[in-house]
């Protein structure tokens, strides 16, 4: 089967790396687009080594040209199954690839020392008790959400000013008030990091229970276009 790592331009040379399971990298070209692929004997298992190798291949491609990461685990029975969506979505993919040119993704993740409480099951008892429990849970959720929003209001606009584009998520999990991704022009990466660190120091006084981490540079995972092939959720 064909395993796809990312999409770049046909002019981008393949890096001298092995892919998942030690398989060679090869290109599948459709118009101006090039999918960076390997041929695998079986579906990759999502272990530590496979995740890192997928990431390493994309980092190496990004060092040679613009790249749109393909979601981990994307396998195609035959080359035609990969070629078809590249043909169908070629203009969208080319536009997205042009937009990320010269940029990298940087991540910012704030964490609470004490996570927001998970929604506890409502107490058994009378209907009134049940409703009171539900109302209490909802108030607690709202309070945590307001705190997350207040933190994002302090941090996000300042960081966005140093970025070309951003994706912000509030409370993606109970320990994380915000996790955001910023598309930053390569020459501004150091300035962006300094900005995060400046804000981290200032936040430390007002929000001693919050730590702020920055990560990257990443290939622009968060700025890949959504295509109509995407299955939003099966759950």
């Amino acid at each position: 089967m064909i395993y796809a790592y990312g999409i770049t331009w046909t002019g981008t040379a393949l890096p001298p790396l092995r892919g998942l399971d030690g398989a060679a990298l090869h290109a599948l070209d459709v118009g101006r687009l090039r999918a960076v692929c390997s041929t695998l004997g079986e579906t990759p298992r999502p272990g530590h080594a496979a995740l890192l190798r997928h990431q390493e291949v994309l980092e190496a491609v990004m060092a040679r040209g613009s790249v749109l990461p393909v979601r981990f685990g994307s396998c195609f029975s035959v080359a035609a199954d990969l070629r078809a969506p590249l043909e169908r979505h070629g203009p969208t993919l080319a536009l997205a690839l042009a937009e990320v040119a010269g940029h990298v993704e940087l991540g910012v993740r704030a964490r609470w020392a004490v996570p927001a409480p998970e929604a506890a099951p409502a107490r058994r008892g009378s209907g009134r008790d049940y409703l009171a429990g539900r109302a209490s849970q909802e108030r607690a959720r709202q309070a945590w959400r307001q705190q997350a929003q207040a933190l994002a209001d302090r941090l996000h606009p300042a960081l966005l000013a140093c970025a070309t584009s951003a994706r912000l998520r509030l409370l993606p999990d109970p320990g994380t008030p915000m996790a955001s991704a910023y598309l930053v022009a390569a020459p501004r990466v150091d300035a962006f990091r300094r900005l995060v660190e400046d804000h981290r120091e200032r936040l430390g006084h007002a929000h001693p229970d919050v730590t702020v981490h920055h990560s990257g540079p990443w290939p622009p995972y968060s700025f890949a276009p959504a295509l109509d092939t995407e299955v939003a959720s099966l759950g």
């Binding site: 990759p44 272990g47 749109l68 730590t211 981490h213 890949a224 092939t229 099966l234």
Partner: protein, 65 residues
């Protein structure tokens, strides 16, 4: 990739892993509906994968599962 934070190395490593898993399983171009992972119950996939990765690291370090 790298993570900078005021935390301990263990906490930094955990954040780096969360950031990586988050991107690989929940982001990126979805070219077809037959993606092997990451379409259903993404939070559960995250949790189980984090556990899997930690378990794998322990095994590699000879600590047992």
């Amino acid at each position: 990739m790298s993570v900078a934070s005021p935390d301990t190395p263990d906490a930094q490593q955990e954040v780096a892993l969360v950031e990586l898993v988050d991107r690989l399983l929940a982001k990126g171009v979805v070219l077809a509906g037959d993606v092997t992972l990451a379409v259903a119950g993404i939070d559960l996939v995250h949790v189980s994968l984090r556990l899997l990765v930690v378990s794998t690291e322990r095994l590699e370090a000879g600590e047992g599962p």
